[in-house]
């Protein structure tokens, strides 16, 4: 462990100097202070759910190394191989219901005439044009106080799926925060990030990417 630290420290110190950051040793102390036990955090700050108390046993004691193989034999006895029982058959029950719900939300959102907000590459800052769109959206939402809306954050296909989910959430929260600034009741708005998983345009060109980097408002029709 000590050896590893010293190996890592050398490039870190130089790297940090180059970047104008603090050195390695102070960084380690600082990160040590980062740690914060939050066993109560499971309940705190989460109004719905938290951490399940019903988790199947996932402990793993390690494999025996042979992977169930029996080795070669000069007079092999017959091994009967079972069918591929690793995976159960998927139940497609809810898929069609979900499709209907998405369609119903699209119709309700189109009827409301809500506008999308578009973002620059790698950015979650709302442009002047975006502010104008949100000002119009805010008027509609305020005049429909009984409506619940989902603020969706979307990204283009560049970059990783995981990091785009985080970026999409930042975009959705930017849009929500600006709507709240404009006087929309926070409880009317929830945020969801779809990252790059639900693009509106599938080509690998900038004209398509710019359409996908968007904040999109959806009128909730279900629960």
């Amino acid at each position: 462990m000590k050896r590893l630290q010293s190996i890592v420290c050398v490039p870190l110190i130089f790297g940090s100097l180059l970047l104008g950051l603090s050195g390695c040793s102070s960084k380690a102390v600082q990160s040590g202070g980062d740690v914060q036990s939050s066993q109560q955090g499971a309940g705190k700050g989460s109004n719905e759910g938290g951490v399940s108390q019903n988790i199947p046993d996932t402990s793993f004691s390690g494999q025996n190394g042979s992977g169930g193989l029996r080795g070669l034999d000069k007079n092999p006895s017959e091994e009967r191989l079972g069918g591929n029982t690793l995976t159960a058959k998927a139940d497609s029950g809810s898929a069609s219901r979900q499709m209907e719900e998405i369609r119903a939300e699209q119709i309700a959102s189109a009827a409301a005439g809500l506008r999308d907000v578009f973002f620059a590459y790698d950015s979650f800052a709302i442009s002047e044009e975006g502010r104008q769109s949100l000002a119009r959206n805010a008027e509609w939402i305020k005049s429909n106080p009984g409506t619940q809306l989902k603020v969706e954050g979307h990204c283009d296909e560049r970059g990783t799926s995981a990091y785009n989910l985080v970026l999409g959430e930042k975009r959705a929260k930017s849009v929500r925060n600006y709507l709240v600034e404009l006087g929309v009741a926070p409880k009317q708005l929830s945020v969801v990030s779809y990252g790059k998983e639900r693009p509106v345009c599938a080509e690998h060109v900038e004209s398509c990417y710019s359409q996908n980097r968007r904040g999109h408002l959806v009128v909730k029709t279900g629960k």
């Binding site: 590893l4 890592v8 490039p11 130089f14 790297g15 940090s16 970047l19 380690a28 990160s31 980062d34 740690v35 939050s38 955090g41 700050g45 989460s46 109004n47 719905e48 759910g49 938290g50 951490v51 399940s52 988790i55 199947p56 996932t58 793993f60 004691s61 390690g62 992977g67 193989l69 080795g71 070669l72 092999p76 091994e79 009967r80 191989l81 079972g82 069918g83 591929n84 690793l86 995976t87 159960a88 058959k89 998927a90 029950g93 809810s94 898929a95 219901r97 979900q98 499709m99 998405i102 296909e157 970059g159 990783t160 799926s161 995981a162 990091y163 989910l165 985080v166 930042k170 639900r198």
Partner: protein, 446 residues
């Protein structure tokens, strides 16, 4: 930064490989991954159809099918080099005495191992029974050193070849092989993304979820029984669910408010590391699956995500944008000793720690602004760009033997899944159907 040697393998892979060889391997390499490891020359002298061409086996070319699967497994093993026996003048098929005199001829030409066999099928139109015999000749011993005899339904024909290939790897390395491993991945189904599991070579895909929502970023439990993933089934939060493969039974493990993503179970299965935004921005947490105690690992205004465990389970590598664009960081499993690992480029994400410990694979943005797969050693001393060319590469995941990676790429237009050797050779596309396949994750060895 002259001491930070960076090697970009773009067109000329040999440059990078030569450099790795020159710089020497670290002590965590096992023999078969050492750069100077000589692959064992192996030839397949035919898997014949029992009873000839007009037999039930012959009519469906059963032996030929098993032989094809076996040869592909041998080639992918990285333990053997597959020698085409006819091309060096060795007759295959219709073996006489065992071992056949031809084997000795092949041995004189440097072939170390020769395998052959036969496959048969019962004449039962509805539910035929398949059997396969496989034998191994070792040139060093100059004798048939052993064989295997398998039987089963027609649905296990490929498995017979895979299992025999794994026995060969086990015999010559003591490792269980990867031919029976699986790859879980995400496939687009209309507006939904559902989980699938397929064999490591892309065959026999099975659908795991079918709920119509987004199901993202699957990861295996170390015992291969479960897959943890992010589910959008609860509309208000994005939860971490777990599904049991054998039964399809599903649990919600984490339903904190906001976005709960990138779960990863520790090598001992006792901790679930994941990212959650329930306290504001995305932070990393660790959940003890036995006590259900949750510990926050990161505290930073930047986003932290994508944890991947070291093989020892003592450290985590993860993505953080605390210094601007996303970069790769390391820390101890309790959140202490955080240090930045990547300094090349302004976008590095989705790290995956090799099961051998010696490399961390991740997505790097190249100087040409292409998203490619890179490898870096955990001490940051060596870095190589593994893939090149157009398309967005994502989600690298290691084979349990540490010799291969799978990843998704849009190089061919639509996102599909590819396999590549850890040395950058033998790029192979393994999914061909579907409009969008992504987030591949390689199972542990059985």
């Amino acid at each position: 930064m002259t001491f930070r040697i960076v090697v970009f393998i773009s067109l000329c892979l040999s440059v990078g490989l030569a450099w790795i060889i020159e710089s020497g391997a670290t002590d965590v390499f096992l023999e078969a991954t050492r750069p100077d490891f000589q692959k064992i020359p192996l030839g397949v002298a035919g898997i014949e159809n029992s009873g000839g061409a007009d037999s039930p086996a012959g009519r469906i070319r059963l032996g030929n099918r098993i032989e094809e699967v076996l040869k592909a497994d041998v080639r992918r093993s990285q333990v053997f080099s597959l020698i085409d026996l006819p091309s060096i003048g060795i007759k295959v098929g219709s073996l006489g005495a065992v071992p056949d005199p031809e084997f000795k001829k092949a041995a004189e030409q440097g072939v170390s191992v020769i395998v052959w066999g036969k496959a048969g099928m019962t004449n039962d139109a509805k539910d035929p029974d398949v059997n396969m015999d496989g034998y191994v000749y070792d040139a060093g011993n100059d004798e048939m050193v052993g064989g295997k005899r398998y039987a089963g339904a027609t649905s296990v024909v490929r498995l017979m070849a895979h299992r025999f290939a794994d026995e060969l790897v086990f015999r010559y390395t003591g490792e269980p092989g990867i031919a029976r491993t699986k790859i879980a991945y995400v496939s687009e189904q209309g507006a939904a993304r559902e989980l699938f599991v397929m064999d490591y070579d892309g065959y026999d895909a099975r659908q795991l979820t079918a709920d119509g929502f987004l199901n993202l970023m699957p990861k295996w439990s170390p015992d291969r029984r479960f897959i943890v993933f992010t589910s959008y089934r609860n509309r208000n939060t994005q939860n971490i669910d777990m599904i049991e493969l054998a039964t399809g039974k599903r649990w919600t493990l984490v339903s904190l408010s906001g976005l709960n993503i990138t779960p990863a179970l520790s090598p001992d299965g006792n901790f679930l590391a994941f990212a959650s935004s329930h306290e504001g921005n995305s932070e990393l947490y660790s959940l003890d699956t036995r006590t259900k105690a949750m510990q926050r690992l990161t505290v930073h205004a930047g986003g932290d995500l994508s944890p991947s465990w070291s093989p020892s389970g003592r450290e985590l590598v993860f993505t953080s944008d605390r210094s601007g664009g996303p970069q790769i960081f390391l820390m101890s499993m309790d959140g202490t000793n955080v240090r930045r690992l990547t300094f090349e480029g302004d976008y590095n994400a989705a790290p995956a720690w090799s099961p051998r410990g010696n490399w961390i694979a991740y997505v790097c943005r190249s100087p040409k602004k292409e998203y490619k797969i890179c490898l870096i050693t955990p001490d940051g001393q060596k870095r190589v760009q593994l893939t090149s060319g157009p398309g967005v590469d994502d989600s690298p995941s290691w084979s349990p033997d540490g010799r291969h990676l799978v990843f998704s790429s849009t190089a061919g237009g639509k996102s599909q899944i590819y396999m590549i050797n850890a040395d950058g050779k033998d790029l192979e596309r393994i999914t061909f159907t579907g409009t969008h396949n992504s987030a591949p994750t390689w199972s542990p060895a059985s």
